[in-house]
Point group: C2
């Protein structure tokens, strides 16, 4: 493979105002497609599909361009950029949304440029499932399709969402969303039910407790990377998907269990960087060297060199 693999990613582009006990941001670069694109950019070429308003700071466009993110599919619409404002308590597990202003996203209809109609990976980041379906119908050729969503769509559009699942290869969800969508109280039963609706593989994200990959009937759990000073979990799930799919898109054999697990390891690493800074602070500035070092450190935690285990005494 001489060409870099490409990922078409559709999702939100936002200006986020976030408060956590360890910092705050004001109208900082955010949105599901942005966190994803930055994380994936270290491994693959990302073509971002979304919309911004006329007020979107050009320095944010430059930052994305510096990460080789293709912005041809990013629509500049009259009006204001989507804004989200949220607050986290000390445990960082749950955001309290202070305000959401859809703005240009209210009338956004994705239109993919000709150059986006073939891709190695199509990632449908968290937006309205009906828009995700529109994008899906416009991409004619791709090796795999992955989807993320959020509680809002599970509550308000469960049927379009279920319909989408039948067309998706990989589903990313957090644990609570998985139980909500499947109506199962146990996370493993929830995963198996969701998988029966379509996706070949499922990745359930558990925040500080890591992730669970379900593939071919087997669970591959991964703990989180240990962080003593997490700052802001915003976008961590999208960064996880970015590391995961960025790595997977570059793989010759994406459907080997070991490839998927390796992708989850990269997802964990990129998710950990996302949490270490406010907004996209670390994701936009981390070096390939730092990624490599964290990867080595994480693998040492997993003790991948673990010896073979003797059987218990009879």
């Amino acid at each position: 493979m001489t060409e870099q693999p490409t990922i078409v990613a559709v999702g939100s582009v936002a200006l986020d105002s976030i408060q956590t006990p360890w910092g705050k941001t004001q109208e900082a670069l955010g949105g599901s497609a942005v966190h994803f694109a930055l994380a994936a950019s270290y491994f693959s070429r990302v073509k971002l599909v979304g919309a911004v308003g006329t007020d979107f700071p050009s320095r944010y466009l430059e930052l994305l361009a510096e990460h080789q993110v293709d912005l041809e599919g990013l629509q500049r619409l009259p009006g204001k950029t989507f804004r989200w404002s949220g607050k986290f308590g000390k445990d960082l597990n749950h955001a309290k949304t202070l305000s959401t202003c859809l703005n240009v996203f209210e009338n956004f209809r994705p239109r993919l440029p000709e150059s986006h109609r073939t891709a190695d990976v199509l990632f449908l980041a968290n937006i309205d499932p009906e828009l995700q379906m529109e994008v899906l119908s416009q991409v004619q050729s791709r090796r795999l399709v992955a989807l993320d969503t959020m509680q809002l769509w599970i509550d308000t559009k469960p049927e379009p969402l279920k319909e989408l699942l039948a067309h998706v290869d990989l589903l990313f969800l957090n644990d609570e969303e998985a139980m909500l969508l499947s109506r199962e109280s146990n996370i493993y039963r929830a995963g198996k039910r969701l998988q029966s609706w379509g996706p070949r593989a499922l990745i359930l994200k558990k925040g500080e407790h890591g992730s669970l990959l379900l593939y071919r009937g087997r669970w591959y759990p991964l703990p989180a990377y240990p962080l003593e000073t997490p700052k802001d979990p915003t976008g961590a799930g999208d960064a996880f998907a970015g590391g995961f799919l960025g790595q997977l898109a570059a793989s010759a054999n994406p459907w080997a269990p070991s490839t998927l697990r390796q992708a989850a390891i990269y997802g964990t690493v990129m998710g950990s960087f996302a949490v270490e800074g406010m907004g996209t602070e670390v994701l936009s500035s981390v070096t390939p060297r730092a990624i490599e070092e964290r990867l080595a450190d994480y693998l040492a935690c997993l003790a991948a060199e673990s010896p073979s285990i003797p059987a218990p005494a009879a």
Copy 2:
């Protein structure tokens, strides 16, 4: 090593009445030392130190004896056996205590038989830290000392507990207890602070989210074994310690990081059996063959055969 390694374990022996959404027990065999002893019995010889009343059913003594648990240090005192009654909701994460009757444990003073004064491992399961200290002072020779406790003692006897930590090699705690005792809101900072008070290694238990081993400044997280139908978490932490120490006691080199991680793998497996049945139901009846099979299955989940990971693209 031709002789089986020995573990002296002191802790509660109880009659438990438990309700979960999936079953209930009435005055069933329970207590921290019992869950521990049954789990450890598959790997090492356990000498149990504790107390029961005159009402303690002989069939429970027989069950322990069948697992080669040495009962010479189990005092039969006039009065009733310690009783605990609790109820779990659907998420199984938190017990609601319905009643606690200390009974013979109110005046229990541990007196170790001569044969218990040397051991490979001394395990101070969850009882009053002042009693744990008494036991510690009576054991003259041991390779390592491990300790578990609970929120009650963190709240009521933090100073004796802190004093104990200075004499302990291994500390088992659940995550909430660790943050409470250390007064840190981050689990990794909590662990490092606790370790600075004495223990060489620390194992933080996170229930359905697995465990964290801290040793020589490095974290070794392990996910839980995936269980689709958990029934009753009572005693899972003690069963974890039983698998961990039962395996560790049998190791030639207990202070190698890989040995400790291997012990945590056995702890996870024995903890998973504990959760699968009501009370000691599964722990008392599981076969060495079933343990081996679960171990293999868990290792496959951990994908210990994971290939070496290439560096990210520069």
